[in-house]
Every structure is written in C-alpha cells, then in structure tokens.
C-alpha cells in the first residue's frame, strides 16, 4: 500500500484482521458563546465522543446507530482521518491515522470506499465517469479503469445507465452509483454515513442487502444509520452511540482490554 511507505512497518506489522481500531478516543468541540458570563467561566466544551474504544475486523458488517447528535458522523470522520481526536489513538487499515501527514491520509482514504447520505455524485459526469473517478486518483491505466467500471456497473445492475447523466436517475439508482463508486477500488473497508437516509424502504433494503453481500468478499462494512428497522432486519454487529459514548461488547476478546459498556446493543452476531 502506498501509505505504508510513509509509516515504517505500520501496515505490515499490524494485525491483518483488524481494519479499524479506536482506543479510548475523545473528541471535544469548543463552543463559542455570546454570553459574557459563560465566557468568563471558560469555554464551553461539547464532548462529542468520550472514551470510545472499538475494533472492527475483516469481513465484519457493522451498524453504527444512535440518535441524531450522538456522534456517529464524528466517529466516521475520525476513522477517515477528516478530523483529529482530542485524545486517544485511531488506526485505520492498520495505520495510525494521525501520525500521517495530510497527503498520506489522503492516500489512505483512496483505499476506503465511502458512501454519503446524499450520494455526492458529480452532476457534470456520466454514471460511468462517476464510478471511474476514484480510479483516477489511484492512477490506474485507462484500460484497467474501463474494465473495473464495466464489471462493477454489472454488479450493481446499472450497466444500461453507464453513459447516462446523473440527473436522470432516481434516488435509489443514484445511491447504487455511489455504491459502485465505493466498490470500484476493491476496498478493504467501506464507510457509509446514513446511506439510506433519502431512500424509500424498498430501495433502502436493496442497498443494505448489496452491502451485506460484500461481507463474503472480505470487506468490512461500517454503516451509520438511525433506521432501527433495517438494523433489526439485517442483523450483523450493532454499535450504539449514546451521548458520545460507545458501549462495546466483543465476546471473543479479553474484556479487561476494553471498556465495560453501560449500554449494549448487538444484533444476530457476526
């Protein structure tokens, strides 16, 4: 991997089955106040995440749930290296994220499939070109790019839309293109932030099913959602963030190494 060149021994020396690891991670935000009284008392701190410890392994299919404002997006941003923790350690794909420079973190993100709630496709590009975009960042040859795009569009059943404009697609189709864009790089990790937020129930289920099938290919999938119906129906491991805290139960691990959770929600198992 490109980023392993920069952090000596990081990727090679890490536990191969661990894809994401957070150790006692805190993320505080300072809130500016207009009130002079509050300013005198010192800045207000919002504890978005408190003592979060978490490990995701290869092929895991994980739902990250919790009410709005519970810190789901903050956690995903930290895993992607888009935000810096106040304290604690984060390893993504076996690499200590915040020992990397900004450009090295960018290189690392090229290895991760990312799906946004509002698809974030480029309206000026066709379906195929949108899917091809991350392959440009990986500097693959045109032939290889075309082959991979063609294959992935077949997988998500969008081949006939290949030359079509994004604007002509339905919400569900757009999100399938976004999934194709995430899958085209053959990622070890997929991170999806509320990917079904704008979809009807049927499209949402179809999309989650598609993501769950990746489990069999060794890809770890982390989906942030507050749709508990989907969580119940699809099972997998469930992490519930409540007030920035992540109660964790990992049955096969030595519990002393991890925080004992106050809240535990987990599904049908991994």
């Amino acid at each position: 991997m490109a980023y392993s060149k920069h952090v000596k021994g990081a990727a090679d020396g890490a536990d191969k089955t661990t894809v994401v690891e957070l150790k006692d991670v805190d993320r505080d935000f300072i809130i500016d106040s207009d009130s002079p009284k509050q300013n005198q008392a010192g800045p207000l701190k919002l504890h978005a995440l408190s003592h979060v410890t978490l490990r995701l392994r290869e092929s895991e299919f994980v739902f990250l749930t919790g009410p709005s404002g519970s810190g789901k997006t903050t956690l995903l941003r930290l895993v992607l290296g888009l935000d810096r923790p106040t304290s604690g350690q984060i390893e993504t794909l076996g690499v200590p994220m915040f020992k990397l420079s900004e450009s090295q973190r960018r290189d690392l993100r090229r290895q991760i499939g990312i799906i946004f709630q509002d698809h974030r496709l480029m309206p000026s590009l066709t379906v195929a070109e949108n899917v091809e975009l991350p392959l440009h960042f990986l500097k693959l040859s045109a032939r290889e790019r075309r082959a991979r795009v063609s294959e992935i569009l077949e997988t998500v059943q969008l081949r006939e839309f290949s030359g079509g404009r994004i604007q002509s697609l339905s919400a569900g189709e757009k999100q399938r293109v976004a999934i194709a864009r995430a899958l085209v790089i053959n990622p070890r990790l997929i991170i999806a932030d509320e990917p079904t937020g704008n979809l009807d129930p049927m499209s949402a289920r179809s999309l989650i099913r598609m993501l769950r099938e990746l489990k069999g290919h060794g890809t770890t999938v982390l989906i942030a959602t507050h749709d508990m119906g989907l969580v119940r129906d699809f099972g997998g491991r469930v992490l519930e963030l409540i007030g920035g805290q992540l109660p964790v139960l990992e049955p096969n691990r030595n519990s002393k190494a991890y925080k004992i959770p106050r809240f535990i929600t987990h599904g049908a198992g991994v």
């Binding site: 997006t73 995903l76 941003r77 992607l80 888009l82 900004e102 450009s103 960018r106 290189d107 993100r109 090229r110 990312i114 946004f116 974030r120 480029m122 309206p123 000026s124 590009l125 070109e129 091809e132 975009l133 991350p134 440009h136 960042f137 990986l138 864009r181 932030d193």
Partner: protein, 301 residues
Amino acid sequence: MIMKMTFRHLVNRPVSTLLTLFAVTLALAMLGSFWTLKENFDRVKVRRPAPTQAGSAAAPAFTVSLDPKLGAEEVETLKRKLLEDKRIEKIEVISSEEAVKTLEQEYGEAATRAFSGESLPVQMRLQFSETTLSRGDFQTFKNHLRSLSGVLEVDDGSTFLRPEALNVSERVFNWASVLLVAVFLVVALLVSHLIRLAFESSRQEIETMKVLGASKTWIFLPLLLEGLIFGVGGAVLALIGMNVGLRIFVARLSGFLLPRGFEITELSLGATWQLALLGIASSVLGAVMTWPLVSRPPKEV
C-alpha cells in the same frame, strides 16, 4: 476527465457561464478601448508635418508662447524688438481668447473641457521673409527666442500639434493612462473574483473529491482551465467587439477625439497580445487565489 468536467461544468450552468464571460469581455473591452486611445494619442503626438526648415518651399515660422503675466505693453515691446530682425516679415499676436477659439475649432468641446476655464498663454506667430533658412540659422534664432525674457516655449512647427494642442492631448493622455492602470487592476481583480465564485459554486463537489482522495492538482486544474477559458474567451470577444465598434463609429470618434485628418486606428498587434495576456494572467491569478481553499484539508463528509 478534467477537461470533460470543466466543459460540462460550464455548459451545465449556461446563465452563470454567459454572464461571467460577458463581464470579463466587457472589462477587457473597456481596457482595450483605453489602450486604443492611448496608442492613437501617441501616434498623433509623434507624427511630423511637412518640413518648414531649410529646403522647404513654404516660409519657415515660429510660434512663441509668452508668459501670461506679460502686459500688453511688454508684448508690444517684445514684438518691436523682434521686428528689428530683417529676416522676419511679420509677427501676429494671438490673444488667450483667440487661442482657445482656434483650439475649439480644431478639437471641439474636448479642448474646452480639458482646459476647464484656465487661460492659455498669449502667442506670437513669427513669419520669416525668406522661404529658405539654413539649419544653423534656424536653430540659432530659435535659441535666441527661448533666451528672451517672457518667452515660455518656442514651437518651430516640427511637431504636428502646437504647444497648447499638445497640452490638451497630454492631459487627456495622462488621465487615460491613470484610467488604464485602474481598469487593468479592476479587470485582473474581476476575473480573479469570478474564478473564485466558480470555485464556490462547486464547493461540495470539490470537498467530495478531496474526501475520496483527489490530489490538490486534480482539484486545481479544472479551476485553472475554467479561468483560462474565461480569460482567453473574454479577450477574443473583447477584441472582436472593439474592432467592430471602431469600424462602425470610427468617423464619429475620430472627429471628436483627434485632430482633423486623423482617423482612429485599431489596436496594434503588440497591444492586442498584451490584452490577451492580461486576460490569461488575470485568470491564472484568480485560480491561484483559490489555492488556499484547494489545499486545505476536507471539512465535510
């Protein structure tokens, strides 16, 4: 891919693209018009009329500008003194008011506006009796005139415009030069700002590309390309517009701005290139101004 993204981005927002192109064209056309004026003034200034010195068929003449503080008696004394030289056939004294009238006849309202109420120096027009004069004598007499008390300037007719006329063109020219610099800066800032706006309009796409791992160059190139399209396109349209405008209004403008017998000419090739380069430079400047936004880490997910 970058080229495609840029062109489709422009095509997908036609109103914004056309307005931006129009604004850049207008700004560059304004600049080009000033430039054209400047070049035409330069041309008039340096052009020389038919020689009046040695070897000329016409009798040589001098126009002497006098200090406005001189009274009528002092002017008369000076005239008598000069007429003692037998080579001088006649001396015509032109009052300040007459000088203004002559200028207005020649340049129209532009002259009146340029002087804005200031009085012109009294002038003497010296006509030699001989039709030929040696170059040495001509220069000696000119220097003698300059050395006389109360004489401000001696024009031997070697410049096309008389001193007062030159004053007019110099003033207009100086103002045009100041405006030229101002318009230059405005155009550069305008084009730069328009490119920044283009960046703002696609901020979400850019943030998404950053999150997906796009390099700074990958993000910067479409912005640069977009800027260059506006810069070069604007310059080309401005030059076409200016040339068409000059062809249509040339007679009217020439009569108003330049002395009789002169016509406004199109912008020279060198200045045309400079104008096009300004468009390109402004575009690059605009794109460079977006660099802090391009290079900062992604903020959104």
